[in-house]
């Protein structure tokens, strides 16, 4: 190497190390680089600060109540099926699923429960004929599409079993605060991604009811957390819920249920898109606003 090139090389090394060190300080690492023979004790998750315990318990209770409602509605559905009352059975399905959508992100925190209870036919290449197609949407399919009451009864029985399991599990589980905060936004994301397209309930067309349920679920978490959220932000969040609920209220029927998805006008759908997007944007900042610690920083 000629002598002139050396200082140049050194200068560029210096530049490089500067760049690296600034990027290190800008963003903390997950863990220090582990070297040598020292035993490093795993730290696990950051414990949830005590101030959130009440909110978390409230959410767990809310989830448990909703699962209880699901079980009771599915039992009623069974009775309706036994007496051959299809339209009543259909009503019970819609209501039961609505309760599920009020707590679904919470269920998703527990392993693959949601996959078992709530797979849609579109999850599988073989669609409705896939053996894994069971749970809510198999019941929905059998009640609204093939109208096979005997098969529906079996499917409801299996679903009931899963729901009882889920309830037991809920009684033993805890939620960390980051997951609770994240769930408030997850509700909105699932409403935008699936319900706004009418793709949750392809046979019963009850996506408006489920969208309302998702929003209620999200709103419930925010109510539990409201003491920790700055007033100005809380106002904005609540204004969004209000505006969303105002649109949803156009679709409530005389018996307190929701109209089918086909009734959703383009006017309201596009408004919901904007409102839900705004809400999702806002809720996505909650972790930072509450300064919730999720990862150890080294």
């Amino acid at each position: 190497m000629n002598s002139k090139a050396k200082p140049l090389l050194m200068a560029s090394c210096l530049l490089l190390s500067l760049l690296v060190s600034t990027s290190l300080s800008a963003k903390a690492l997950r863990s220090p680089v582990q070297t040598g023979d020292d035993i490093i004790v795993a730290k696990g998750d950051i414990p949830t600060p005590a101030k959130y315990h009440q909110a978390i318990q409230a959410e767990l209770d809310y989830a448990s109540q909703n699962i209880t409602s699901i079980i009771s509605l599915l039992n009623q559905l069974n009775v309706a099926l036994s007496s051959g009352n299809l339209s009543q059975a259909q009503q019970f399905y819609v209501q039961a699923h609505q309760h599920y959508e009020r707590v679904r992100p919470i269920v998703r925190l527990f392993g693959h429960a949601d996959r078992i209870i709530n797979s849609r036919a579109s999850y599988f290449l073989q669609g409705t004929s896939d053996y894994r197609f069971k749970g809510f949407h198999l019941v929905e399919y059998l009640l609204f599409d093939s109208k096979n009451l005997a098969a529906a009864k079996d499917a409801v029985g299996e679903l009931l079993m899963y729901c009882r399991d889920l309830k037991q599990r809920l009684a033993q589980e805890q939620i960390d605060i980051p997951k609770l905060v994240q769930s408030s936004a997850d509700f909105i994301e699932m409403a935008i991604e699936v319900k706004l397209a009418g793709k949750e309930n392809l046979y019963s067309h009850s996506d408006i009811a489920d969208m309302a349920a998702n929003v209620q679920g999200s709103q419930h978490i925010i109510e539990e957390l409201s003491a920790f959220i700055p007033q100005s932000m809380l106002k904005q969040i609540n204004r969004n819920y209000q505006q969303i609920n105002a649109i949803m209220s156009h679709y409530v029927t005389a018996n307190g249920q929701y109209k089918t998805f086909e009734a959703l006008t383009w006017h309201d759908k596009k408004k919901l898109y904007s409102l839900l997007s705004q809400q999702a944007n806002l809720l996505a900042t909650l972790r930072a606003i509450l300064d919730v610690a999720v990862y150890y920083k080294f």
Binding site: A26, K27, A28, W266, K270, K271, Y273, S274, S277, Q278, N281, A284, T285, R287, A288, D291, V292, V294
Partner: protein, 420 residues
């Protein structure tokens, strides 16, 4: 001095390479060939001014990649729409200029931008062109009295197979740059900042052959024909004022001056059928030779078709695309428009056909004497066997930011506010 020396060594070493090849010394040849491979000439830092008398992207030389996206407005409030236009203008101003991207300091927040361009935003010749659809001039915002005089809803032509999901929209953006990632970066940024006001309703991505753009030759479309040869030259500002831009003496609304009418036509090609079509039919359908792009019977791409020396349509058929579209009678640019089309490529149809075609785009001062009359002359052309328009619409490209207005749509909003 130094440069010439380098050049000299370069020449020598190239000669050495040649010698080495002649000597069959592969060991010597390969590394030296690799070393002399040309560096990329892609100028990512290229900036195209966004605030001028006219919007960029209308008569701007075509970039390689494009995305056409139509939105519906989700609010009914004029104030919110104004806010939306201001945000759009801000984003366009930001995106079309070079910036170091501000690092994210709080990692509990979502990152400010997508990150797909790395830590430095180079605009890559980005242009974003804002146009308003006919539907925006209904009663919602009090715009109906100010609707551009020639703006109408796109009606179906005889060969059209319009699909509702691919038609219309209150606002369109034409986003162009020299790489797909630059286009997508801008698109995601804009959607992120405007989702409170705008919902996307359709989007089509387009491309032009890099090799043609790099070599400054006419882009070749998916039929294998040079497309754009006879286009009105953007360099002639008089011609652009005559056929592209709305001008003072054009009897349109004053607020429209400096704008232009945009026609977008999404046109599906039957390429399997086309590839089974004899060359002479292909050439006669267009009226041009395939390889050279010259008018039939002529040598060079830019040669005149000399229609007056072919009074019976023996050489260039009366039915051919160019003779119907641009009969050059009574004068050149009978078709008072300027084209700016892109190719598109999606998936396959249920019958295994490629879903590919053209995003036909043209700009004109007057929709009727521009696109509509030209399309009427083309109705029934032999090319129709291979093409089916399925979407698009007519839109009005807002005037530029020449100082009189500070954001796109400013004048229109002010007019509506006065009435409201």
């Amino acid at each position: 001095m130094k440069n010439t020396q380098n050049l000299a060594t370069a020449v020598v070493s190239r000669r050495n390479v040649l010698k080495a090849i002649a000597a069959g010394s592969a060991a010597l040849t390969l590394p030296s060939m690799a070393a002399s491979a040309p560096k990329t000439c892609h100028d990512y830092a290229k900036v195209i001014k966004f605030n001028d008398l006219h919007q960029a992207g209308v008569i701007t030389k075509e970039q390689k990649d494009a995305s056409f996206i139509a939105f519906d407005v989700t609010t009914e409030s004029l104030d919110e729409l104004e806010q939306c236009f201001k945000i759009l203008t801000d984003r366009i101003a930001y995106l079309t200029q070079a910036h170091a991207i501000t690092p994210n300091t709080n990692d509990k927040l979502p990152p400010r931008e997508s990150g797909i361009l790395g830590s430095y935003l180079k605009p890559d010749a980005l242009t974003i062109t804002v146009a308003l659809g006919e539907s925006l001039f209904d009663s919602r915002f009090g715009f109906s009295a100010f609707k551009p005089k020639r703006l109408v809803e796109m009606k179906s032509f005889p060969n059209d197979r319009l699909e509702q999901d691919w038609c219309g929209g209150d606002i369109t953006l034409q986003i162009c740059a020299n790489s797909p990632e630059s286009v997508i970066y801008a698109l995601r940024d804009i959607i992120r900042h405007t989702s409170a006001y705008l919902i996307p309703v359709w989007k089509m991505d387009g491309f032009l052959p890099s090799r043609n753009i790099d070599n400054q030759s006419t882009p070749i479309n998916l039929f294998g024909f040079k497309d754009g040869t006879g286009n009105a030259p953007a360099e002639s500002s008089q011609l652009m004022d005559d056929i592209v831009w709305v001008t003072d003496d054009d009897k349109d609304h004053a607020w429209c001056v400096g704008g232009s009418y945009q026609a977008i036509r999404l046109i599906r090609f039957n390429l399997e059928f086309w590839d089974r079509t004899p060359l002479e039919d292909q050439e006669n359908d267009f009226g041009r030779h395939k390889v050279s792009g010259a008018p039939i019977g002529m040598k060079h791409e830019q040669d005149s078709p000399e229609f007056d020396k072919d009074p019976h349509g023996d050489r260039i058929l009366f039915d051919s695309h160019i003779r119907r579209a641009e009969p050059r009678n009574p004068h050149r640019y009978t078709a008072e428009l300027r084209r700016r089309s892109y190719s598109y490529s999606l998936g396959v149809s249920s019958t295994g056909a490629l879903d590919m075609g053209l995003i036909f785009v043209c700009y004109q001062q007057n929709l009727k004497t521009g696109f509509i009359d030209t399309q009427k002359r083309l109705n029934g052309e032999p090319l129709e066997r291979y093409v089916k328009p399925f979407g698009g619409g007519y839109y009005f490209v807002l005037p530029g930011l020449d100082g009189k207005q500070t954001y796109f749509g400013h004048q229109l909003i002010e007019l509506a506010k006065k009435v409201a």
